[in-house]
């Protein structure tokens, strides 16, 4: 009871300042992702005459890296590899989750057993470790990592959707639609999905944050994007050896990763609270 009224009150209020700041920060990142060439033209141009310039050097706000590339521009250019992969991971995992989760939840029986067994098995495994091993065996690469992550992330979505579908299935209004022999797909699409959309969307959001952290971890280990591309995780790894000459290389990328993940998480948990779903 108490939580219900609480939620009701919250809905009338403006979001807290931390949520607004997170939103603004994410908007900035998103504009970087969409218009990289506007904010950072020729971000990857080498300049071997001006390497390892410290932050604050003329024309280079955050200095340059070991190849003379402008760190600030690299940071902006790196936003797309930092964000696009995680969004694809979250989306891929969402699609698989919706598909397998609703099949398992709706039809039950043997299909449910197999799908649930797969989900349980994968969930009990250390996903980051498996991703590292898989990436090392296959030899890494950005899109391969995205695929591996989708495989490892989807079980959670499957479970989420499955239990939501089962929960909705037993409700009287669904029982009645079944009596009318409506086709399963229609019932799922029209009657069930709208009811679980919020949970699934919140999870989609949180998956982006996890994806960002996992992908940058792999890049840090040298299993992600190639050296030609800009990428935050890679930038931290490369910046480690420049810690004394230009600490901005590693620090700026580290800070941006942490801020982005915090912002996404803040907004995600705020949405979760507002949706009234019990954790």
């Amino acid at each position: 009871m108490e939580t219900l009224t609480n939620n009701f009150e919250k809905k009338k209020k403006l979001p807290p300042i931390s949520i607004i700041l997170s939103g603004v920060f994410l908007l900035i990142i998103i504009t970087w992702v969409i218009f990289p060439s506007v904010f950072a033209p020729n971000a990857l141009a080498l300049d071997i005459k001006n390497t390892k310039l410290p932050a604050g050097s003329e024309g280079h706000l955050l200095g340059t890296d070991a190849l003379g590339r402008d760190v600030a521009k690299m940071l902006i250019a790196g936003s797309s590899s930092a964000m696009i992969g995680p969004v694809c991971i979250a989306a891929g995992s969402l699609i698989i989750g919706l598909l397998l989760g609703s099949i398992a939840g709706w039809f039950g029986g043997f299909l449910d057993k197999i799908i649930s067994a797969y989900a349980d098995l994968t969930l009990s495994m250390p996903s980051l470790l498996l991703a590292i091993v898989a990436a090392a065996i296959i030899g890494g690469g950005y899109w391969i990592n995205v695929l591996v992550m989708i495989v490892l992330y989807s079980p959670f979505d499957i479970r989420l959707v499955r239990s939501a579908v089962i929960q909705q299935k037993s409700k009287p209004y669904i029982e009645s639609t079944r009596m009318f022999r409506l086709n399963s797909f229609r019932i799922l699409a029209v009657h069930i999905f709208p009811n679980i959309a919020m949970v699934v969307m919140v999870n989609f959001f949180l998956n982006i944050a996890y994806g960002l952290m996992s992908m940058s971890s792999l890049s840090f280990l040298g299993l992600g994007v190639g050296p030609k591309e800009a990428d935050w995780g890679r930038q931290i790894a490369d910046g480690r050896e420049l810690l004394t000459q230009n600490p901005a290389v590693a620090l700026s990328a580290g800070i941006v990763i942490i801020l982005t993940a915090v912002s996404i998480n803040l907004i995600g948990s705020y949405l979760l609270e507002r949706s009234g779903v019990d954790e």
């Binding site: 071997i48 390497t51 190849l67 040298g222 190639g226 050296p227 030609k228 490369d238 004394t244």
Partner: protein
């Protein structure tokens, strides 16, 4: 109530933990009487035997623990070790007269049987996969009497003496001991040898400690204890040095030289490390079968630019695929440098590069350069090369792979342009050439180069001594470079840093490969 017990246990653990914290902070390495030399290496190993993996760090370790028949001296020349003297007939039959007073660290005498056993152990590819090649198929080692050993080779091999040194393929151990152990080189079964030190403790991928042993024929060494810490991460190693955790840092990366210098009381020494870095073209990959394409690439690479920016000036532009210092047994480095600079090579010239590419008649194409993740410098250099080749119409993608994958695919017909970064473990001037110039079969050289004309020179190098075969060697190198099979970029320069608690005399590229190398260090009390 059970929960209470759990909490109690947890609290007890925390208390213990805090005690540990207090107990050890004060116990920093006791500097009161400095008896241990602590060296930080940028590499890491999980087992000690050089015969298994053959990493250079294993060679440094076995160098002071196990002896060969001969050893390398500080002067770069071969010196007696377990053999007091030796002679050869036509480089085919080798006779060694053994030292009678050599003892293993357990006090037992080194016998001919032990030596023959160790040679056979080295020649067995199952036990010693990385050094078995030192012993040609059909060689024979036999005992003549209690202190004489005869080795018969199937063909003449003038450089065979390196094979029976502990820089090549011989680490004498005790037969009886070795046969009773099944995990030699692991943390349980440490090495047993007759060298100046014995291993006290080995913690895989972390450190190894040595103590001087009293039974060595050369007398008990001055420095009592030596500890080698494996710190692969450059940044961590620098920080460890700053904190005084290590006395001596080996292979300081050029980019950190100034950071090391900034630590008070530090001496940084640079030296030519004999390594060769260059490009290898795989002739089985089109269009690199076209000599003009190869020349175009060779002309397009600004080696000096890479040295200045990526190596911070620490490297020397190379004119051949062997460094001048590699000739130390036959020539002074300056004399060797003059001879090497006279060989055919292609200096950076973008106009000529374009001209050659036009001559080749090839259309603009794209290729990929791979580099190993253990060598990030080459990754950066690859990006610079890619940038330069864009200008002449070659699009280059740069990819990072694991060291194993990179090595596995070397010369496999998949990489048109490949890196070669090699530091010879021995001081044989022909060490790289006998690999690069061997055109006798598939995959005998990394370029899939098949040209009979170079073989007579290589055969002469095998048959003659290093000094007599020098001109043949240089001619062979010249033929390969004239055809731009290999494009030399730079000869490496190494740097070491040490703090005021140690003194080092005359550090060189082979200090850690020389007999009883800790004698080059003095600890300041």
């Amino acid at each position: 109530m059970k929960l209470r017990r759990i909490i109690a246990i947890a609290l007890a653990a925390v208390t213990l933990f805090s005690v540990a914290a207090c107990g050890t902070t004060n116990k920093k390495p006791s500097d009161s009487a400095k008896e241990t030399l602590v060296i930080g290496f940028p590499d890491s190993i999980n087992e000690l035997e050089a015969g298994q993996e053959g990493s250079v760090l294993q060679y440094y370790i076995q160098q002071i623990v196990n002896e060969g028949l001969v050893a390398l001296g500080e002067d770069g020349k071969i010196h007696p070790a377990l053999a007091e003297s030796w002679e050869d007939e036509n480089s085919t039959v080798w006779t060694f007269h053994l030292r009678k007073d050599a003892k293993f660290s357990d006090g037992s005498l080194v016998t001919v049987e032990d030596i023959i056993y160790s040679i056979e152990r080295s020649a067995d590819p199952e036990r010693s996969p990385s050094i078995a090649y030192f012993y040609p198929e059909g060689f024979k080692a036999e005992k003549l009497d209690a202190s004489t050993l005869k080795i018969t080779l199937p063909w003449a091999q003038s450089n065979f003496i390196w094979s029976v040194s502990n820089n090549g393929g011989l680490f004498v151990t005790k037969k009886e001991w070795a046969e009773s152990k099944n995990a030699i080189g692991s943390a349980q079964d440490l090495l047993l040898g007759s060298g100046p030190y014995k291993i006290k403790e080995f913690s895989p991928a972390s450190h190894v400690t040595f103590t001087a042993q009293e039974h060595w024929w050369g007398g008990t060494p001055q420095i009592k204890n030596v500890r080698i810490d494996f710190i692969p991460d450059d940044q961590t190693r620098l920080l460890a040095f700053k904190q005084g955790d290590i006395d001596f840092a080996f292979d300081v990366p050029s980019g950190q030289i100034n950071d090391y210098k900034a630590v008070s009381g530090t001496t940084v020494e640079t030296y030519k490390d004999r390594s060769y870095v260059g490009l290898t073209f795989d002739l089985s990959v089109k269009p690199f079968d076209n000599v003009h394409v190869r020349k175009a690439v060779a002309y397009a690479v600004d080696a000096q630019g890479i040295i200045d920016s990526i190596l911070d000036g620490h490297g020397e532009k190379a004119s051949a695929f062997t460094a001048p210092e590699q000739f130390v047994t036959v020539l002074s480095p300056d004399a060797a440098r003059a001879k090497l600079n006279a060989l055919t090579h292609y200096e950076y010239n973008i106009a000529k590069a374009k001209e050659e590419f036009e001559l080749s008649g090839e259309k603009p194409f794209s290729t990929t350069i791979y580099y190993s993740n253990s060598n990030q410098r080459l990754g950066k250099a690859s990006l610079v090369i890619a940038d330069a080749l864009k200008e002449i119409g070659i699009t280059v993608d740069v990819k990072e792979t694991s060291l194993e994958q990179w090595l596995n695919e070397m010369g496999s017909g998949t990489k048109g342009i490949d890196w070669m970064d090699y530091r010879p473990p021995t001081l044989d001037p022909a060490e790289i050439a006998i690999w690069f110039l061997d055109t006798t079969g598939d995959g005998t050289n990394p370029a899939n180069w098949k040209d009979e004309s170079v073989q007579p020179y290589l055969e002469a190098v095998y048959a003659k001594s290093s000094a007599e075969g020098l001109e043949d060697l240089l001619k062979g190198i010249d033929i390969a470079q004239e055809q731009a099979i290999y494009a030399p970029l730079w000869w490496g320069e190494g740097a070491v840093a040490y703090n005021s608690s140690v003194k080092v005399s005359g550090f060189s590229s082979y200090t850690f490969l020389s007999q009883n190398w800790p004698k080059n260090f003095t600890l300041n009390k």
